[in-house]
């Protein structure tokens, strides 16, 4: 009786919509897991014995080394920036996040363009100094090359999270260690690294999930991994079933990472919520120490942002006049259209679930938020496979209706833009959701409760009160998901309707067709938009007192 009453109290439009949204995210993923256990095809047999070991080997090597190097670079930079003052530190604080504005696939072909035989480095050496280099040392299209790219362009995840942790949490421990006479190196390895473990694990698991999600880098470099194999079995062999099995295997790896993350993070909690947060007071470095720290941060910034951007601008200057034509404008229009539509849907869905979750603290709302976060961990190629199987099934169910309204009973939904946008929503809902949830957290529940006691229903309260109070968070969520969709590659490549190109797919296509100069303009547009968003969120927003 009690349960029944609780349920009827919960049962309102917000809950029903939230459940609907959560199911939308779950369906494609579940359909993959279920189909993993269906009949094996001969292709799968072949893949399993001849290709899968190689995929697992490559993926593991890339993950282990990228993980190691991003931890080293990200944590050391976070520590230097938090604990010391050195030249241009204020710039580096947020400048070191900027590499995130460059999607790894763009970095991959930019670096290859710089380093190959006709690139600026080798031609410079040949023409100016008459030096012929051994090509082996300048070939970046290798497994180590991909680790280099992933490390440089993904380390900011570790840097960002660790820096936030060190800035707020660590002062007492580190100052104690100093007073006990530890030197800087000891402090870094024996105090900073262990106490920031939670933050580091959080950052590096984001890096690893990005690595698993990547299609552009490994495809361009010709390294077989899960993403490329999923594409190949599907488009090359036309075997959706085998693609599903590969996707499911990849999903198990993702779950494994998430479980390990939870385990590594959850056992000990190194945070002091009870104590008043006191920021770490930085020590001013002078002389060679100051300049060597500056040089370290400067080199990373140059390699991971400045140099590739200068190269792309150089190529853009060579080509922009013949690039800008109606076809290119349509690319911009397409990109803007899918990103705006996707971000709008994400924000609406995120607001619905976040509002439901904060008003009803129960297992259902907890499960809903977990599911949404999960969507962000699933690699693009897997979501693509999942969503296309679901959409084909929906189309088949609707054949009768298509005929009844005078349409050909063909695949309508599963060849439409709607499918692509739904996929974006599934993959990036977490991005918008996190922004909006933190907005709700900041304003708290009291205004909504005040409104309820003044006679407004939950929905009226939402429109009259809540929306006004979380405007900023809604805007943040919108911009962040907009940028993610603009940068996105694998989902767009797989699910776009025939002849539909966006800035990212076209840039990748140009680069793959050895038209590297033509790839620069769309790449620059993507980088500039993402860069503005990063500047805005990490420079402007962080400075605000609240």
């Amino acid at each position: 009786m009690k349960l029944n009453r609780q349920f009827s109290r919960l049962l309102n439009g917000w809950m029903i919509l939230s459940i609907g949204i959560v199911l939308l995210i779950l369906f494609p993923n579940i359909s993959i897991l279920i189909n993993f256990f269906t009949q094996e095809t001969s292709n799968w047999d072949h893949i399993k014995t001849h290709i899968l070991p190689l995929l697992i080997q490559n993926t593991s090597i890339i993950m282990i080394f990228t993980g190691f190097f991003t931890i080293m670079i990200g944590t050391s930079l976070a520590w230097l920036v938090s604990a010391y003052d050195f030249p241009f530190k204020r710039f580096f604080q947020w400048g070191l996040i900027l590499p995130l504005a460059i999607p790894p696939y763009i970095a991959a072909y930019t670096y290859n363009g710089m380093l190959n035989y006709t690139g600026v480095i080798q031609t410079g050496l040949r023409n100016q100094f008459n030096i012929q280099v051994d090509q082996r040392y300048f070939d970046i299209m290798t497994l180590p090359g991909s680790i280099f790219i992933f490390t440089l362009f993904l380390y900011p995840y570790v840097y960002m999270i660790t820096r936030a942790f060190l800035a707020n949490q660590s002062a007492a421990l580190i100052e104690n260690a100093k007073m006990l006479g530890s030197n800087s190196f000891e402090i870094f390895f024996r105090v900073v690294m262990p106490i920031s473990r939670g933050a580091i694990v959080g950052g590096v698991s984001l890096v690893l999930l990005e690595v698993l999600n990547d299609y552009g880098v490994v495809q361009y470099f010709g390294i077989p991994t899960f993403s490329t194999a999923i594409f190949q079995t599907w488009f090359g062999m036309g075997d959706l079933n085998a693609a599903i099995k590969l996707s499911a295997t990849l999903m198990f790896i993702v779950f494994f990472i998430l479980i390990v993350e939870k385990f590594l993070r959850g056992r000990k909690r190194y945070s002091y919520t009870a104590a008043r947060v006191r920021p770490l007071t930085p020590i001013r470095l002078t002389g060679w120490r100051a300049w060597s720290v500056f040089a370290y941060a400067g080199i990373i910034f140059a390699l991971a942002f400045l140099i590739p951007v200068i190269q792309l601008v150089d190529w853009m200057v060579l080509t922009y006049d013949k690039m800008i034509d109606p076809v290119f404008l349509s690319l911009i229009f397409n990109s803007l259209f899918v990103a705006l539509a996707g971000a709008a849907m994400i924000v609406i869905f995120a607001v619905i679930v976040a509002n439901f979750a904060r008003t009803q603290q129960n297992w259902l709302s907890k499960a809903s938020t977990r599911t949404i976060i999960l969507g962000y961990s699933i690699p693009g190629a897997v979501i693509a496979v999942g969503i296309i199987t679901v959409f084909i099934q929906i189309d088949e169910l609707l054949f009768g209706i298509y005929e009844a309204i005078g349409l050909d009973p063909t695949l309508i939904l599963s060849t439409s833009l709607f499918m692509l946008i739904s996929a974006f929503v599934i993959r990036f809902l977490a991005v918008g959701f996190n922004a909006i949830e933190s907005g709700f957290d900041k304003t708290g529940i009291k205004f909504s409760e005040a409104s309820r006691t003044l006679g407004m229903s939950m929905t009226k309260t939402f429109f009259k009160v809540d929306v006004h109070l979380i405007k900023g968070a809604i805007f943040s969520g919108f911009i962040l998901s907009f940028i993610e969709i603009m940068k996105e590659l694998p989902l767009t490549l797989i699910l776009r309707p025939f002849n539909f190109d966006t800035l990212s797919t076209k840039a990748f296509q140009y680069a793959s067709d050895e038209q590297i100069h033509e790839a620069s303009l769309p790449s620059i547009i993507i980088i500039v938009l993402s860069g503005i968003a990063i500047y805005f969120f990490h420079h402007v927003v962080e400075k605000e007192p609240d």
Binding site: M1, K2, R5, F447, E449, A450, T453, G455, S457, H468
Partner: protein, 234 residues
């Protein structure tokens, strides 16, 4: 009795220790009752249960013979017409004073709404501030607006959660006498929660103490410090 609360119990989560345990209370129409208790004694939770922001595990609440909550149904907070004044006032920061006060007025013409807003602003002596925003008011002024906002829809019951906790000590003494006069002038039945004995004595017709989730009653005419052994209600 106008308000009847019977055998009310509440806990967060099933296995948790009950915060409210077999709580009983009856209030006559027009009375001001104070619930006095230490922090964590569950006194704020009583208010949240009465206005419907929490659902009780068992027990019943009725106001003016209308059942608000019992074993079978539980009326939503917006349908109860109970006014609540929150501890930190919760004035909507994006609305002016007049909009805040008007917020709870429904089913009225624009003219009537304006009239009612003028009326309650006058009651709390804040007529000159109708176009200000909450952040432009002092703590005491915000408190009066919060009172005006909860009184505007003519609630059948007014709840106040630690109404003086955000005020300076001198202001507190001045305002609590004013508050009693205003509430008595409207004849609104009220329950207010406090940890301060002096507040309770200054305002209330009756004082209830909360201890481990149950209610004990004192006669407010006695000196509270004399009463070490409270008598159990019922």
């Amino acid at each position: 009795m106008y308000i009847q609360i019977k055998e009310l119990s509440f806990s967060y989560g099933r296995s948790q220790k009950p915060i409210i345990n077999n709580f009983n209370l009856e209030i006559a129409k027009g009375d001001i009752v104070s619930i006095l208790g230490e922090s964590g004694s569950g006194k704020s939770t009583i208010l949240r249960l009465i206005c419907g922001l929490e659902t009780p595990v068992c027990g019943s609440i009725s106001i003016n013979k209308q059942m608000m909550s019992d074993g079978r149904h539980c009326i939503l907070p917006e349908k109860r017409s109970i006014g609540m004044m929150f501890q930190d006032y919760a004035l909507f920061p994006h609305m002016s004073v007049a909009d805040n006060v008007q917020f709870g007025l429904k089913h009225k013409s624009r003219k009537d709404k304006r009239k009612r807003v003028d009326q309650v602003l006058e009651l709390v002596n804040m007529s000159d501030f109708r176009n200000r925003y909450p952040h432009e008011l002092s703590g005491g002024q915000q408190q009066r607006i919060a009172l005006a906002r909860s009184l505007a829809p003519e609630p059948s019951l007014l709840l106040m959660d630690e109404p003086f906790s955000n005020l300076d000590a001198d202001l507190q003494i001045k305002i609590r006498n004013e508050l009693r006069d205003i509430i008595k002038a409207t004849g609104t039945t009220s329950i207010f929660v406090t940890h301060d004995r002096e507040d309770a004595r200054a305002i209330a017709d009756r004082i209830i103490t909360m201890r481990e989730g149950s209610a004990y009653e004192w006669d407010s005419l006695c000196t509270i410090d004399d009463l070490t052994e409270p008598a159990l209600v019922d």
